[in-house]
């Protein structure tokens, strides 16, 4: 199926000095107008200058400016002679989303919703830096970093079947705990099982529409059912890994003859000692993030069972990263695919699509902003040629944090959400204002473009009943 031409905005290599490949944006007219209001275009053109970049660099419909890479950017570098860039992954390594589904109809929990949300807020620490409930020794932390969620099965914090529906089974094999600095370990040690601040959240949701009932059936989703969406990442540990390696690569780049339009794109060849050390540390931080979401899942399951008994069982539907670099094969060539604010979206035929989802494609989880819908999509086989098997990661910001706070104070945002029947547990009114729905692009529009381009297909829409925010 051809991509509608009006949804493609492409810049040739002549658009800016040093571009090695074209840069392509997927957006409709309204999203393209919003994208043009910040520095996303210049940032993606800068990414197109990186050594070893191949094919085309892509921006998803939810793209917005970041630092170095735009958020919503995808770039693939040849593994043999291309670079790896910590900025192409982002500070929150393996920030991602997981979806849990219950067998409960929403009516069953409404009478307990307020108490349930506040108990979740107590059991799952939220704000940045808050200590979690799982304290780790050095040896235990190293096992988290190297083994990921496999270690949590041994600890009784994960079901074995959870691994079947977690990207990479929650454990990247290239992880090297020794490449993660002492400082990063210090920051992460007591943060396993915490949400963090900013746009991270935990939501209790209701499945309210099924655009594809067949695929929804395979995922075990039915209309009116209660689900839980968790959006968080690798916390201080991942941030420190990125900080450490941006600094290192910025210092050693001249040794490799690399000059860049933006120092935050700092990089070295993947095959270099520095590149290999970053890759090993990034994989370890990614494993930490999957464990973080898994420990939160364990806490959420405990709370649901306390409130609802056996009917409160929660089944993991899927867990997917949207800040990561992965080694993948395209056209017989091994590439290092950087996804910064972009979600992997493999089709039914891809060998990494979980066995139980081979009939429909890999699930893609798109969190909306507070008060708006979230989406479940599935990847397509055609996407391999459209964006290295990638799609959007959310609604994408359209308004700065200051502008959001100026537009509406946090207490008003809280009142409006509560007027919609959404229970809110958030200690900071300021952060509530910064993350208000109007600060984001229209998720419905973003997902519509994704579906029309063929990056992924819509399966289910969920809307919030209650939200726990950092």
């Amino acid at each position: 199926m051809a991509v509608p031409a009006e949804l493609i905005h492409e810049f040739p290599t002549t658009a800016a000095a040093g571009m090695r490949v074209p840069a392509r944006f997927y957006a409709d007219d309204e999203l393209w107008r919003q994208i043009g209001s910040d520095r996303s275009v210049q940032q993606l053109l800068n990414v197109a200058t990186l050594p070893g970049v191949t094919g085309c660099v892509y921006a998803m419909p939810d793209v917005h400016e970041g630092y170095g890479f735009p958020v919503g950017g995808v770039a693939a570098m040849r593994a043999a002679d291309g670079v790896i860039s910590p900025g192409g992954v982002g500070y929150d390594i393996n920030c991602g989303v997981r979806l849990l589904a219950s067998d409960l109809p929403a009516d069953r929990i409404r009478p307990k919703l307020h108490d349930l949300i506040h108990e979740l807020a107590r059991s799952v620490p939220s704000g940045a830096g808050h200590g979690g409930r799982l304290s780790l020794s050095d040896a235990e932390l190293d096992r988290v970093l190297v083994e990921g969620c496999r270690y949590l099965v041994e600890r009784g914090l994960a079901h074995p079947e959870d691994l079947d529906v977690t990207e990479a089974a929650g454990s990247l094999p290239g992880a090297v705990a020794g490449f993660v600095s002492r400082r990063a370990k210090d920051r992460g040690r007591d943060q396993l099982g915490t949400i963090g601040s900013g746009n991270h959240f935990l939501e209790v949701q209701i499945v309210d529409a099924l655009p594809d009932t067949r695929a929804a059936g395979v995922l075990g989703l039915v209309e009116g059912q209660v689900a839980v969406l968790i959006h968080t990442g690798s916390r201080g540990l991942g941030h420190q890994v990125c900080t450490d390696f941006v600094r290192l690569m910025d210092e050693v780049m001249p040794r490799y003859g690399i000059t860049l339009p933006d120092r935050e794109l700092a990089c070295t060849p993947l095959a270099s000692p520095e590149g290999q050390r970053y890759f090993g540390a990034m994989c370890a931080a990614a494993n930490f993030a999957w464990c973080n979401r898994q420990v939160i899942t364990h806490r959420v399951r405990e709370v649901f069972q306390r409130f609802l008994g056996a009917q409160g069982d929660l089944r993991l539907v899927y867990d997917v990263a949207h800040n990561i670099a992965k080694l993948e094969d395209y056209g017989g060539e091994r590439l290092c695919v950087h996804r910064k604010g972009a979600t992997r979206a493999f089709g039914p035929a891809h060998p990494e699509t979980p066995a139980r989802y081979r009939a429909i494609g890999q699930p893609v989880l798109i969190p909306g902003s507070m008060g708006t819908a979230s989406y479940v999509l599935v990847g397509t086989d055609a996407n391999a040629a459209l964006s290295y098997g990638s799609t959007c990661h959310g609604a994408g910001r359209r308004m700065s944090r200051h502008a959001a706070k100026r537009t509406k104070p946090g207490h008003e945002v809280r009142r409006e959400l509560e007027a919609q029947g959404i229970v809110v547990a958030c200690p900071s009114s300021g952060e509530l204002a910064e993350e208000a729905p109007f600060a984001y692009k229209d998720v419905e529009r973003v997902v519509e473009v994704v579906d029309r381009v063929g990056l992924a297909r819509k399966v289910a829409r969920l809307r919030p009943l209650g939200v726990v925010k950092g």
Binding site: D38, Y67, S197, V246, S400
Partner: protein
């Protein structure tokens, strides 16, 4: 802060239209002043806009880097690390030594029960240190 090295007081965090992050603006008569102002601005952001009176022991904090821009970033990342791990937010500074590649400062601040929840990293993105109206200034994009 010693009077002869007092930083120029400005609003240190402001909206410059970045869609997702926060920009810190720091100014100083000297590079050492600028670094101290950046540290104070970060403390103010971390504490939600108000700075309580500093107390406790003075601590020596030192950072190095290959150039001025990297030194600004390394300095702020050092303070972010201390805030998160030691739960100590530096707010008052006495510059001991400031070159383009080396910064040593004595600092006092406040300890907090809960580590600050706002700033997670300082970035090199678009960071330039320039002289304007007789003052050195730097704009630093912070990951929040």
């Amino acid at each position: 802060m010693r009077d002869d090295a007092a930083p120029v007081r400005e609003p240190v965090a402001r909206d410059v239209g970045h869609t997702a992050e926060v920009e810190l603006l720091a100014r100083g008569r000297t590079f050492g002043d600028l670094l101290a102002a950046a540290g104070r601005g970060l403390g103010e952001l971390s504490l939600g806009g108000s700075i309580p009176t500093a107390s406790g022991e003075w601590r020596l904090v030192q950072v190095q880097a290959g150039d001025r821009a990297a030194l600004v970033v390394n300095w702020l990342n050092e303070l972010i690390y201390l805030a998160e791990v030691d739960r100590w937010i530096a707010t008052e500074f006495t510059v001991e030594r400031a070159t383009d590649t080396d910064f040593a400062v004595r600092a006092r601040g406040v300890t907090v029960d809960v580590p600050p929840s706002r700033v997670k990293a300082a970035t090199l993105h678009g960071l330039e240190i320039a002289e304007r109206d007789g003052l050195l200034q730097a704009h630093v994009i912070l990951d929040v």
